[in-house]
Symmetry: C2
Subunit: 411 residues, 2 copies
């Protein structure tokens, strides 16, 4: 069976630059990874229903499902197919049509069907399970997470595009600041620059309760406010329905401004935090920021294939404690128990740099490292960069000055 790209071709009419679609060879790397992990987990097939995983597996978003056996090519079961045709594309009205269509193609129905148990709703899981009536079901979310942890060459290229635009957009930040600005107004101007540089806007997270808009800007003591989300830092937010980030406070002299906006200039997000300062920060804050920079240097020097993610967390915490910043590390009232995380189509992918992680860095992992400190009276300091694990070490993808950047030089 050969790959038929007509569905892609049918969709390209509105896009000028073909390279925004992954080459089939690159998709094939992903399909083989999913098949390998599926086989290891004892599955016969998986049926993928979420847009993020459909995008990962096809380079497109469509209404429908991707069906995979442990061998051969995936089938795209598409609702609303608008006449798209091809060897891999099968039009359906509803998921219950799929088993009959597989039989018609002499494809045996799976005994052990994997569905995205951590992502699709209970109701949808039951519906898909009933349509196939397999002997057993397994968790396709775990399989896809594992596959998505190791990025393909095209995906790595997408990160490079995101990271470059991310840095370009951040370079405009000092010019956007005016004395007397509220945190939210500064953030709004940064959001506009992100969009002007090509941000697609939505900030994809894994997990139903992980709401955030385009990212966060924290100044002063708001940086220490806990929030109900599993991001590194919190902030009180502008409204009780989204208690995270800027609160509408005027940015004060002597306070830091930490900018952590998602680099979603492609489907693959870079994650980058830089610290801005309106007036001079306290010596203690400068020391803590320097310590964060030293941690980044250590990661670049020591990190490589095989490094345990847990160890990175442990030495970061140890360095913080040794320098007397243990209580400021990753928050105050509520301290995040990780110092970094994989990034990709979603901001919180594998691996997680935390104590109980069993993951080792592998070539092709792309992750954010974000040792941050919250100083009462000042705010948050510390950088975040996105790194690629290569065969020879670690490459920094988010290249931009790491010193604290002065706002209104003259002040």
């Amino acid at each position: 069976m050969t790959i038929d790209n007509k569905i892609q071709a049918g969709n390209t009419q509105t896009f000028k630059d073909d390279c925004i679609f992954p080459p089939v060879g690159d998709l094939e790397i992903r399909w083989r990874a999913v098949q390998k992990y599926l086989l290891e987990a004892g599955g016969d097939a998986c049926l993928i229903a979420t847009h993020v995983n459909i995008y990962y597996l096809t380079g497109m978003v469509f209404t429908g499902f991707v069906y995979f056996s442990v061998e051969g090519y995936p089938l795209y079961f598409v609702q609303r197919s608008f006449g798209c045709e091809g060897a891999q594309i099968v039009a359906i009205r509803k998921p219950e049509d799929i088993p009959g269509l597989l039989k018609a193609r002499n494809i045996p129905l799976p005994k052990n069907l994997f569905l995205e148990a951590d992502q699709i709703s209970h109701s949808e899981f039951l519906r898909l399970e009933a349509a196939f009536n397999p002997e057993k079901t397994g968790n396709a979310t775990a399989i896809l997470k594992k596959a998505r942890m190791i990025k393909t060459p095209w995906e790595i290229g997408q990160f490079r595009i995101s990271a470059a635009k991310h840095a370009e957009a951040y370079r405009t930040i000092p010019s956007l600041f005016k004395e007397g600005m509220r945190d939210i107004d500064f953030q709004t101007e940064i959001e506009r620059q992100m969009r002007k540089h090509g941000s697609i806007g939505i900030f994809r997270t894994f997990g139903g309760n992980m709401d955030i808009f385009m990212g966060s800007l924290l100044t002063g003591d708001n940086a220490g406010m806990p929030s109900p989300y599993d991001f590194a830092l919190g902030g009180g937010g502008m409204h009780p329905c989204l208690p995270i980030g800027a609160t509408g406070e005027v940015i004060k002299k002597g306070n830091s401004v930490m900018v952590d906006m998602a680099g979603n200039f492609t489907a693959y997000m870079s994650d980058m935090t830089r610290v801005f300062s309106f007036g001079k920060l306290s010596e203690k804050a400068l020391d803590a920021h320097k310590l964060s920079m030293e941690m980044h240097d250590r990661l670049m020097a020591e990190g490589k294939e095989g490094t345990a993610c847990a160890d990175i967390y442990k030495w970061s915490l140890a360095m913080a404690e040794k320098a007397g910043f243990g209580e400021n590390f990753m928050g105050i009232k509520q301290q995040a128990k990780f110092v970094g995380h994989g990034v990709g189509i979603e901001i919180n992918e594998l691996p997680v740099l935390m104590e109980r992680s069993k993951d080792l860095l592998q070539s092709g992992c792309v992750f954010a490292f974000e040792p941050k400190f919250v100083l009462p009276g000042t705010g948050a300091v510390g950088n975040e960069n996105t790194y690629l694990v290569t065969e020879t070490g670690i490459e920094k993808m988010t290249v931009l000055t790491e010193e604290i950047i002065l706002l209104l030089d003259a002040v």
Copy 2:
């Protein structure tokens, strides 16, 4: 048992305006509605885990669960409670702690426990079910959707705030346009104005596969492009990972520009579409827009408590067909099979104005009505307004000129 508001008090420190928290009496209306529907469905209790429903039931977002029996007051089981205390607030480490804590309070465990089956993941459903081990489980999503369909006085007030700011932000739109602008650049400037007027940013939708950023701006033939989402119209989008809305095309003379941004200035979103025109539109487009305005007039004249939602769809379609616009109604290639929808914390709530709806309009319903037409060569026309069903009729919440608004008057 009396209501203890300490958890609210604990959260207000970052908020200046107390009225952004609902009064307890208003929450109580919601609790009673949920209890009534739960009892009718044969449930003993429900355990709510999603942030949208936690916000609906408490006026806050926290990490944890809301537990409800069919009588009495809900309990807030809070992870990361930061010392918040109160009769209704119980600190937990994990959901498995809840049954023991209920027993300790002499609250019998439910035989029929309702969980948010259409919202939480299959894995989370199984985990919560195992923690309680009830004889039966039911679907709390359906219960909450029904309760959320009828808005309380405070919720209606929040819509009024959103709708007023929505109109104010839209009034700036003509001043943002410049000849030669791309659709996405025009949208970016509108997004900024929405934020400056207080938009909280995130656009909440029901359903895992309903991605959108802050709303959509459609010009020319892009308005007829199908998309994989269940919004009224589509558009090709800027990137294959989010195929909806603006595509980066320059806005052409003689084309319409349809602006449909979410009015999320509070947790309760108004939905409003207005049409802008760069140069004069074709007579046919002007006729179709007039027809949309007539449909809005008819809704205002005839709509009232007891009106069948299906009937509104049917007469809208009939009016479109009679005027020769049947093929342009709600899209071309892909026509939406609804002409409106309930709005609230999420943009797609009950009721849905579609042929197979069995819902009747009830006092307290807030819904968007959006009869739109796509004209090849021109783009989309037709308005969208948010309406409140009152005891005496229908009130328009989104008050702003409904004529097509000229961009660059001099052209």
